[in-house]
Amino acid sequence: MNGLRGMAWLLVFQSIGEVLSRGLSLPLPGPVLGMMLMLAGLRFEVVRTPVAECAGFLLTHLSLLFVPVGVGVMTHLALLGQYGGRMLVIIALSTWIGLAVTALVLYWPDRKREA
């Protein structure tokens, strides 16, 4: 029952986020606003216990949720045929640059302090 209640809370917060985002034409998408509101909502036990259960379930299966969008690659085959090689190189290089910069900004200062 808690899992279902958690899902209801997530949807309620997402809906509030969507209403605020569209109603006030804010730059943040509805689910993002919903997440920020949820951060405040988790203070309350009634919200926290069910959301913890449902969020744990959703987030452990997060990669499944990307499959439908990923399959959409088949609708862009022409574009991929023309630029696919270059796109792949760009995506790989920029992902590595992003991974390296993020991890090192977090990692280096701690290591230097210890050495």
Partner: protein, 241 residues
Amino acid sequence: MPRFVELWIYLSATPLFGLTATLVVYLLANAAYTRVGGAPWANPVLWSVVVLASGLLLTHVDYQTYFAGAQFIHFLLGPAVVALAWPLWQRRAELRARFGRLVLASLLGGAAAGGSAVALGWAMGLPHDVVLSLAPKSVTAPVAMGIAEKIGGIPALSAVFAVLTGMIGALSGKYLFDALRISTDPQGYAARGFGLGTAAHGIGAARALHVDADAGAYAGLALGMQVVLAALLMPLVFKLF
């Protein structure tokens, strides 16, 4: 066998088909992934996409028909973004203590990933709207689509770029971090996880979670921060140019 053909036409046109195929293929891919000891190349998202997309192309079922069923899974991305508040809340003490540095890492990492993609795309002569679609690729797919729409990219293409980015990050992150000599103690795992969540969003985070609990928690944290920062700043940055 006209009866079989009739049945296939019925089945492939009902939403039941897209939903069932997605779930079954993903579970099989996940079982294979576990079977080979969670090797990065066996990434379940990658193989699910390959199997489903080639299956649809071979059987001449179009993407819209498939998506009529798969949208029920796709829909859960919204609540999943809201659910990211949970890992953030769990780590709120660390978040407060290291707030400055985490924001800095998230900002610089996100800017480096998006900026280098746009610069490379422009340098390699990709069409303008494709280059713009590359910018939000390190943000989780549903948010990337929203950002692409705001800055003049192609939302569907951004979503595909985001999924590709996540898969590349999940596949190669381990080797890159090893080469950079980032340790595999809690401190190193925090940096590895945070890097994956920032540059390879949910798919990277799923990989981090699979490897180490600390790495997974930091990846969730990074994913949440990246979503907020990118959604706020990216449309502003592109308005300036």
